[in-house]
């Protein structure tokens, strides 16, 4: 843990795709137990940042530090085991698995004693897996659809399942990439309640979002990206009154 209480630190994080600078020298400190908003116009590098934190592709320069440990070169699947879970902008469930199985494969808890767990983790998941799956079914309100194929769920249910799947491995931090995309206002309200509930449990959340009602309603702190650079950072009220942010979203008058 860094001195300032940040669980996730990005230090000079950069990524270029063949000359396009998607993320440019980004510094970010995400404090533990808070909901941190990451906003910006389309193509400003928000999703790329999430992908870099998760190790989907290698960074061009800079470091990702989680819980005081440099994880820049860590394999993607290992990042979940140390506590970073995510959802995707376009829902990516295992559509031909059931709701139950989707949550079951996501069980990676290390709570079994070493040695005895290797085979068992493969065959049935960690000891607490089944109970954990049940908790997640309740949390997401999908208990009645446990045996349905994930691909047959309604859109809102799929979003809920994806969030539950990310939580199934008991992460310390959640990266949510536009979780409210395509939701109606009622569903956005439910999502807001869920996020607040998670925050009470001490979960750190990095929220990438376009739906401003949600961002302004739940976040403690917001950073704004434009063309891969951080152009502003502050509380929701500060951000709303920032002239640079208005310019980035609306253009110059």
């Amino acid at each position: 843990m860094a001195e300032n209480g940040a669980i996730l630190q990005l230090k000079g994080l950069s990524k270029n795709f063949g000359g396009v600078q998607a993320v440019d020298m980004l510094d970010l400190d995400v404090p533990q137990g808070r909901i941190f908003g990451l906003i910006g116009p389309n193509g400003s590098g928000k999703s790329t940042t999430v992908n870099l934190i998760c190790g989907v592709f290698p960074v061009s320069a800079g470091n990702v530090v989680f819980g005081g440990r440099d994880i820049t070169g860590l394999a993607p699947h290992s990042r979940l085991t140390i506590g970073v879970a995510r959802t995707f902008q376009n829902i990516r469930l295992f559509n031909h698995l059931t709701v139950w199985q989707n949550l079951w494969v996501a069980q990676n808890g290390e709570d079994d004693k070493a040695g005895q767990n290797f085979i068992r983790r493969w065959v049935s998941g960690p000891g607490s897996a089944r109970q954990q799956v049940e908790e997640m079914l309740d949390f997401s309100g999908l208990a009645h659809r446990r045996d349905d194929l994930a691909g047959n769920l309604a859109f809102g249910e799929q979003r809920r399942l994806e969030l539950a799947r990310a939580l199934a491995a008991r992460p310390q931090m959640l990266l949510l990439d536009e979780p409210a995309a395509g939701m109606n206002m009622e569903e956005v309200g439910q999502l807001r309640d869920r996020l607040m509930k998670l925050r009470e449990t001490g979960m750190t959340i990095l929220l990438v979002e376009h739906v401003m009602e949600l961002v302004m309603g739940v976040t403690d702190h917001i950073a704004v990206l434009n063309f891969g650079k951080k152009i502003a950072e502050g509380t929701p009220t500060e951000i709303q009154n920032d002239p640079l942010v208005r310019e980035a979203y609306l253009g110059t008058a």
Binding site: R92, L93, A166
Partner: protein
């Protein structure tokens, strides 16, 4: 009667071959290496019984482990590539195995005759079954004990978390990674299990044909290996069995009376089956229907 026992043996062995590819296909990796593992199993088991006087069951199990070991070793480099590149890489491995046996001589004198593999001539006189007085019926039963054990094992695996993990990787690698699954470990494990099953199948095959040679383990066999589970469907192991019965029992044997027209119709029927049932003969919906029928009755 012997003809039918022979057919039953053939269906059993091809089911094992198909199931070896089934496991790998669950992770959405198209492998053309299964005929290679099958060939390795065949040569290993035959050499053990003929040259080293092993009993049949240990010889076949060792053949399975040999297949698994090679599959694991091949899996690490091969599974770094995807899609068509993986097809090419595994195809190359299959040809490598075939050409290796084309040049492989290891003969020892046994009584009057020389026994053991002899390059392009192949490996003759694998006479464990006749020497021990097994009838064709005994052999057919023996084959099916293995088939049933392996099908039961895979059926259980499909219902355990392993099955869900393999399918999760097959469906979406990025999402699988994000829920903490190690893609390399999962794919190499699938390949290793597949290699084990192919090795067992090969070991049995060598003994009931009594004569193997490199041309048995060619690209056509590798194509059959993946065709069975794809045609049968990947929702469970019975799809593969059904496809083997359909192809070997009905198309290859049943249409023999049609002479040269058989091959034409053979291809047409497979195309037709894939068009009518794109997710395989036994797809998820068919399983749902069956389940409902059985729970009602």
């Amino acid at each position: 009667m012997d003809f039918y026992f022979g057919l039953i043996q053939l269906i059993g062995v091809h089911t094992l071959l198909g199931l070896s590819a089934y496991v790998v296909l669950l992770t959405n990796q198209v492998t053309m290496a299964q005929a290679g593992f099958f060939g390795i199993g065949a040569y290993v088991a035959a050499m053990l019984t003929v040259l080293a006087d092993f009993s049949i069951v240990p010889a076949i199990l060792i053949a399975g482990f040999a297949g698994a070991l090679i599959a694991c070793l091949v899996g690490f480099p091969a599974l770094r590539v995807k899609g068509l590149m993986l097809v090419v890489a595994t195809l190359a491995f299959g040809e490598f195995v075939r050409l290796f046996f084309f040049n492989f001589d290891y003969q020892i004198a046994k009584g009057e005759i020389q026994v053991g593999p002899l390059g392009g001539e192949g490996f003759r006189q694998i006479r464990y079954f006749p020497e021990n007085g097994w009838t064709t019926g005994d052999v057919a039963l023996f084959v099916w004990v293995f088939v049933i054990l392996i099908m039961a094992g895979l059926w259980w695996m499909d219902r355990s978390r392993i099955g869900a993990v393999l399918r999760a990787v097959g469906e979406d690698e990025l999402a699988a990674q994000s829920v903490g699954l190690n893609l390399t470990a999962v794919k190499v494990s699938a390949m290793t299990i597949g290699g084990f099953i192919a090795g067992i199948g090969g070991g049995i095959y060598a003994h009931y044909t009594t004569h193997i040679e490199q041309s048995n383990f060619n690209v056509l066999l590798a194509t059959f290996a993946i065709a069975y589970p794809i045609l049968g469907g990947l929702s469970n192991v019975f799809g593969t069995l059904l496809a083997v019965v359909f192809i070997q029992g009905i198309l290859v044997e049943g249409l023999r009376f049609m002479g040269d027209w058989r091959n034409l119709l053979f291809g047409a029927l497979i195309v037709l089956a894939m068009n009518v049932r794109p997710r395989g003969l036994l797809d998820e919906r068919a399983m749902m229907t069956l389940k409902r029928l059985f729970s009602r009755g």
